[in-house]
């Protein structure tokens, strides 16, 4: 099966909750994005503005995604996380693994 090509290759924008209930679906989504990284990736922005909820499983998935991106030479940036999401990530202890860009 051929590699997927993403029209909007600038940002990775998950939408909706990042929770256990959607773990498989999101795993596939992130895996495809990982697969779609350019040969010489630089900075990759993960736009969290459309994420309305996250749980520990979701945090872990996101952290693993970020680690995998780093392994492939990319510099992932988590951006535009809503306040409630920041709080949840902090509360669950993922503040180091999911280093968020400061709020504007």
């Amino acid at each position: 099966m051929g590699k997927k090509v993403f029209v909007n290759n600038k940002n990775i924008t998950p939408n909706g909750p990042i929770t256990i209930e959607r773990a498989k679906e999101l795993h596939q989504f992130f895996a495809e994005r990982l697969d779609g990284l350019p040969e010489q990736p630089l900075q990759e922005t993960i736009d969290l503005s459309r994420v309305d909820d996250i749980d520990a499983c979701g945090c872990q998935l996101l952290a693993l995604f970020l680690e995998s991106m780093k392994t492939r030479g990319a510099t992932p940036i988590l951006a535009a996380a809503p306040a409630a999401l920041r709080e949840r990530i902090d509360a669950l202890g993922f503040h180091d693994l999911l280093a968020l860009q400061p709020e504007p």
Partner: protein, 681 residues
């Protein structure tokens, strides 16, 4: 590129919820059992701790599994219990009823989540308010930190804050089990001093992304908190979550009071036994409610899987019996090794059958245990004094029957309390003990389970039953015997109660009892004596059970007689055979026993029709004796009882059926029914 935000659940959380539901029900039952056993007495420390643990487990589980509504009542209840056990609030007898009421509210919420049954929110709010009022009304009695009471547990306020470090390496399935880390974090935060909680997650491994299982937990957490909470309270947070070796607690030196009161714990890393010791050496419910030391001693298995196993073993038994039958026709010398193997196979199959069948059977105490509270409440409502006695609690019957017999039994118990047993004044006036007795007993008799509900009340009122029957247009007469009159109460809408109460007497009770019991192949019998009491006997078939039976031949058919009704078998001599009132009887040791000719009862072609040419199997059931005429005795064997109603239709005179080695179906005889059929011939 964005993801869809649909609600496409990738895992089935329902099966994990079921585990919580079952455990919650168990905790509620345990709590109720303790509360009922107390009467109006104050619980001792051990009982108080057990009630507290049950409430706490429910609250913890509900929070973790996301049933937040269930944490509301449990939280206030837990607070009250905590104050009680710390002797900050004095115990009052009314609290028992309040806790029972709280248990009902939680049960209602459980039923809502489990079965979608409606919740009476007003009642729940009412209980919560009452619990809160009780807490508020009891003046808290804070104990100065420097003057602790001997032997009383320390409240969080009494302990000096100390720093705890927790390393939590969860079960990889924690996410898939539906456990919410957020709840754990929130509970730990509550235990920490304000602003003194830190949580740090670390990935334990980073597998190839495409190959990882996103529902598998690869994270460990380190928590640091400054807390006044006891080690036990911290461990309670992980009650449903942590298994052994999954949680380590490192505590900085403990507070002065604890140090003085008990030997100082070892410094450094203290491995937290997931099911650590509780008060008085008890153990707390651990992950999924398992108790200490039971980590591997029990597992929960879906009933359908057990049923499947039972059926497969049943088929295996039939195959084994068929092989034995085929081998019986072979030369034993030439096929010695085969014969030995078959004997071994038979032994192993029977062992397997015994083991498997025992899984499906549950003790009737599961149902009986529901009644102490019912009796207590109804008796109090009616102003009656009642002692409930149970016997045969360990009698086992099929799980399916247990579920279906609870309602009919409940009806009978309510009726006995409402209509049977008299008020203390009336009893004293009749020369009876003011305390009435209600007895529930269970036993296995022949191929059936017999449950008696006996009271020592006024007994059934024959005249009123007859009058009411006439009023309802039910054919009856004064000439009818008691045995004919009593069943009239099973008519739909029949009630002799002069007042319709909310306990019974709605006139829809007894017909429902009969219908429900008949629905599972059972029957109800009544015995009553005016002024002395009544006994309702429910007799149920052993739908799925192992039965020791005697297989007999009548013509080309085979029948199974339950071995425990068999007294002896004999070939009668002509002088033993008599005729009494036109019925054939056999005289055995001075006693005349009716001869039951199965070929006539079941309308079969028999080789033997005259008793002196056949064999008489003497049997006794329900206090009645008889002699069954058979052509031949074949074998004593264990048979798998199958419900004939489910697989075919009800066959009068049979308590079920079994499949024989040759693949044929044999009826298992139901003696009481056969006696009744014989009398009608």
């Amino acid at each position: 590129m964005t993801t869809p935000s649909g609600e496409n659940n990738s895992i089935d959380l329902n099966r994990f919820n079921q585990v919580f539901f079952e455990e919650c029900a168990e905790n509620l039952a345990e709590m109720e059992q303790i509360l009922i056993s107390l009467g109006d007495r104050e619980p001792d420390q051990e009982q108080m701790n057990a009630i507290f643990r049950a409430a706490h487990s429910i609250k913890g589980g509900a929070g973790i599994f996301g049933f937040n509504d269930m944490t509301v009542v449990t939280h206030v209840m837990e607070s009250l219990l905590d104050r009680l056990r710390n002797q900050e609030i004095p115990f009052a007898p009314g609290m028992i009823d309040l806790f029972l009421e709280a248990g009902d509210a939680i049960s209602m919420q459980l039923a809502w989540h489990r079965e979608g049954k409606p919740v009476d929110q007003e009642a729940i709010d009412g209980v919560r308010a009452k619990l809160q009022q009780t807490i508020d009304a009891g003046a808290p009695a804070p104990v100065p930190a420097d003057a602790p009471k001997e032997g009383t547990p320390l409240s969080p306020e009494e302990l000096l804050p100390r720093r705890c470090r927790l390393a939590f390496t969860p079960d990889p399935e924690i996410f898939a089990r539906g456990i919410r880390m957020e709840s754990i974090v929130a509970e730990l935060t509550e235990l920490a001093e304000p602003g003194e909680f830190d949580c740090h997650a670390q990935l334990m491994e980073v597998p190839e992304f495409a190959e990882l299982d996103p529902e598998r937990c690869l994270t460990r957490w380190d928590f640091t908190l400054l807390t006044r909470a006891s080690r036990e309270q911290i461990l309670d947070v992980f009650m449903f979550v942590a298994d052994e070796e999954q949680l380590c607690i490192e505590e900085e030196p403990v507070d002065r009071r604890t140090k003085a009161a008990e030997p100082a714990p070892e410094q450094g890393v203290i491995p937290a036994a997931g099911r650590r010791a509780y008060d008085n050496g008890e153990t707390a419910p651990g992950a999924f409610g398992r108790r200490g030391g039971e980590i591997e001693s029990s597992i929960r298995v879906n009933v359908t899987k057990v049923d499947q196993l039972v059926n497969q073993v049943g088929e295996l038994l039939i195959t084994q019996a068929m092989l034995t039958q085929i081998a019986a026709g072979l030369d034993p010398i030439l096929h010695q090794a085969l014969q030995r193997g078959l004997v071994q196979l038979e032994r192993n199959t029977r062992d397997l059958q015994g083991s498997v069948m025992s899984i499906r059977l549950v003790p009737i105490s599961i149902v009986f245990s529901r009644f102490p509270r019912l009796v207590r409440e109804i008796a109090a409502k009616l102003g009656k004094q009642v002692e409930l006695k149970t016997t045969g609690d360990s009698t086992e019957l099929d799980r399916g029957l247990i579920e279906k017999i609870a309602d009919p039994l409940g009806h009978l118990v309510r009726n006995a309390l409402d209509h049977g047993l008299e008020t203390p004044e009336k009893r004293v006036a009749c020369g009876k003990n003011p305390m009435g007795t209600l007895q529930l007993s269970a036993s296995q008799v022949g191929g059936r389970i017999v449950i008696d509900v006996t009271d020592d009340g006024a007994g059934l009122n024959r005249d009123r039953i007859l009058a009411k029957a006439l009023e309802c247009g039910i054919p009856c007469s004064e000439a009818m015997s008691d045995e004919e009159v009593w069943p009239l109460i099973f008519a739909p809408g029949f009630s002799t109660a002069s007042e319709v109460t909310d306990i019974s007497g709605r006139g829809v009770g007894m017909d429902v009892v009969l219908k429900n019991v008949q629905g599972i192949g059972g029957r109800v019998q009544i015995a009553s004596e005016a002024g002395k009491g009544a006994r309702f006997t429910i007799s149920l078939p052993l739908t799925l059970a192992i039965l020791e039976g005697l297989s007999v031949a009548i013509g080309k058919e085979k029948f199974i007689i339950p071995l425990n009704v068999v007294i002896e078998s004999l070939q009668p001599k002509a002088e033993q055979l008599k005729s009494v009132n036109g019925r054939e009887v056999v005289q055995v040791r001075g006693e005349y026993l009716p001869i039951l000719k199965l070929h006539r009862i079941f309308n079969l072609e028999a080789e033997v029709t005259e008793p002196q040419r056949g064999i008489l199997v003497l049997v006794e059931a329900d206090g009645e004796r008889g002699a069954i005429l058979v052509d031949a005795l074949l074998d004593e064997q264990q048979v798998v009882v199958k419900s004939i109603e489910t697989n075919y239709r009800q066959v009068e005179g049979s308590a079920g059926a079994t499949i024989l080695g040759d693949g044929r179906v044999a009826l298992i005889l139901d003696l009481p029914e056969l006696f009744a059929m014989h009398k009608r011939l």
